[in-house]
Amino acid sequence: MRNKIFVGLFCAFILLVMVSAPLNAALTHAGIVKTANVGNIIEVEKVYEEGSFGAPLFNAIEEGKRDVADIYTNYIPFYVGITSVAKSTEFALNRPFAAYLLEKGNELAVIAPPVEPDKPQDSGTGDTTAEPVPEEPKFTPVAKAEYLDDDVFYRYYKVSVQLEENGENEEFYARVPGKSQSELYDKMEIQAAKINDFASRVPEVNWYVFPVTCFEDSEVFKNLIPSESKHNIFTSFLDRLDDGIQYDYVRIDSYEDKLNKYYRTDHHWNVNGYTEGYNRIATMFKENYPDLEIMEPEIHTFDNEVKMYGSIDLALSDYSLYDIFAAAKFPLASHTVTRDSAISYGGTNTIEKSFFLYNNKLQNTEKSYNHYMQFYRISKKVVYPENNTGRNLLIIGDSYSPPLLEALASHFDNTYIRYVDNNFEMPEYKYEDLISEYGITDVLLLQISSRVYCDYFDDSLLNLY
């Protein structure tokens, strides 16, 4: 009897999943049911080179295998719920021991390598003679970090903090490059030299470097998790930039700054972050072009109804935190945008269409839908035909650039954008050729800080010159 019941239950469970997964997939594809989608990708295990023996057949087999694996992963009933609950449980279980190890590890940590004294964190050029700024007494916030997980590139922490501003407790995620400090430091030295070298080869153009600061670059973070801090490397990089290269970055001087300017569940900057970014970049432009007028954008919060589950939620499969998405609308003159069909973060709408959809609550509400990535589109060229500035801009960007492109381009006649992102097949071109071909007068490096200061993904200066 015992065996009968056991076998009955065992077979029922296995057969239930066996049948329900493909059924769920079929019904989802037919639009009859809706299956939660977290963008989980099942990749083909192998790709047989074209022209090799049996390649068409073997590639078809591989795709068939991928499809089967996709059905028996993403369409297993409650897949998203199961992974999400499992991850949350795992994090909760790990919390005490993770806290112990982090504390112990930080006690033992030696912040390596030794770096040169920090330079004052102002915008400026590579001039290193500035006077040090005396430190002011600071409020010491009650903050703690909890190690959660890692992947190929990053380690993920959850930070809990009591804010100085209002005494409220807030939580957010921090995503930190996983490579060692000495490795990053070495890469930083090479990268700074490369940028200086490139700028010196094309001295007739104005050079702007705008590494989009991440939390780990800040001094606040350095006090929170010293062993993971990139502050010294970041400041050493800025120190190394030659005179004549203008640079600036978004400030994260407090937890309030972090929460105000960046998403708590996504690694990108939010509307406040990128409008500050715009302001700082435009101010750098203005130093060379005093007639330039800096715009004041209008911020749309869409009635605070657009919940965004950011990239870190997705990476951790934990949806307990979320952000409210908002977007900035700049008062732009008429212009034309040429899209980049080779690169897409998913956004297909014009900004006007995005605003229309969101204002009318017609936006996609899937948890996996990253509003930041989808709201803006990737452009290749922006032209303001009525401008007559005689200036042309080249932006070397990545996923941090799209919200700003059209606004930054409004100060130039023609703006050309090249994305550097090894998620996509990189086109073959030389920046130096682009500069002469398009009559570029200004070059802006506008990317995530780690890509700018240490070529973290080994793609930053691909084909740079």
Binding site: F13, G54, I61, I82, Y147, S180, Q181, I448
Partner: protein, 484 residues
Amino acid sequence: MVFAYLPFVFAFLPLFFLTYYAVGHFFGTKGKNVVLFLFSLVFYAWGEPIYIILMFYSTILDYVCGRMIEKGTEEGSVLKKRIFLTISLIGNLGLLSIFKYLGMILTSINSIPGVAIPIPEIIMPIGISFYTFQTMSYSIDVYRGKVKAQKNIINFGAYVAMFPQLIAGPVVRYETVAAELNQRKETLDDFAAGARRFIIGLGKKTLIANIMAQTADALFMHAPSSLGMLGSWVAIIAYTFQIFFDFSGYSDMAIGMGRMMGFHYLENFNYPYIARSVTDFWRRWHISMSTFFRDYIYIPLGGSRVSKPRWLLNIFIVWFATGLWHGASWNFVIWGLYFGLLLVIEKVFLLKLFEHSKVFSHILTLFFVVFGWVIFTQESVGGILEYTKAMFGAYGRFGTGDTNAVLLLQHSDVNTVFLIALAAAVIFSTPIAKKIKEKLTQKGNGELPTAAAVAYDVAVFAILFLCTVQLALGAYNPFIYFRF
């Protein structure tokens, strides 16, 4: 395909058993063997379709050789028997040499100054070490007259390709399943016992070995100098449990699935980490492989019934082969010879010393085994020495790298889940659960008391559920661009 894979558990396996029992209902054992053979080919092709040719080659070669050897026996022609045995051995060992050892051989030759032979890129076919050994044992056993040659090529193909033990053993000798290949009967009790065993094996692999592997793999990526004493010991202990629960988990799943279709494979592990000597360890670890080497190499060489120097030579030949079987790299050979040396030392005097203290013998044996895994995991002699230095404090407690070992542990998933898995690994490396079950069974007059039986089955289902969750998590891979 591997067993710890959602499409295997929820698509391949149920589809196989539905077809197997449906066809078996109408066509009996022969029909079941056809289904087993065809599904095994699909299972094998899932990993590398082209290498299915090798499976056919091995099947046909040994089927023909087996028949011809038997014919030779019937005709009284020793020459014929020897010729076909030789063809079988050369055919199988040749296959192994090309697909497993050619790279190693050429790399070794290229280390001679002035020699630079191009090394072809050959991907090793999955399970080649297992199925070539199985088919060789078949030919040898037919030659020795221990078994009759299989007349039905589908039955023989089902034996060679049988998916439960195809990729990670155990090495199932033909004599073990010969009778069941021709005629077998499945029972509900066998199916239930097999399913329980399969789930327990899946649990060992998914809930213990994979968690240990995450940590071990992550830590092994760092230089021993960065790991220090703490990191190097944690890594090798994690690996010690990973390899046992991975391997024995696969064996459990194989034995379980075999039983679900009416085959009764022999046990492959018997709590090796409770061994009180290295000799004892090798009686408990990968039993099907050790007995294979004993029966097909050591004993034919004369075993211990020869002169002392010859006996020593025999031992080292066997352990050289054992090491080489585990991998095409010189560290595996060193690993094999290391155990050969330990066995000689034990036989000469250490076993006598071990008799005086069970605790001492157990601790020392465990140390020998764990250190063996250091040799097993380090690809060069330099690596072995560096790692050994780290274990014994040459790089301090926390290492001398950029990041101290405590943080390395954190970044290598040493967390509460790891500690729970480690505790489970320690407990289930011993026969505690087995002994409790035996005691309860004795109390229940040969059967588990109802409450215990229900609790046991609930636990088994909980393992299946947790494995499903763990496999689902393992397959979680959100679109990578979000990470940039």
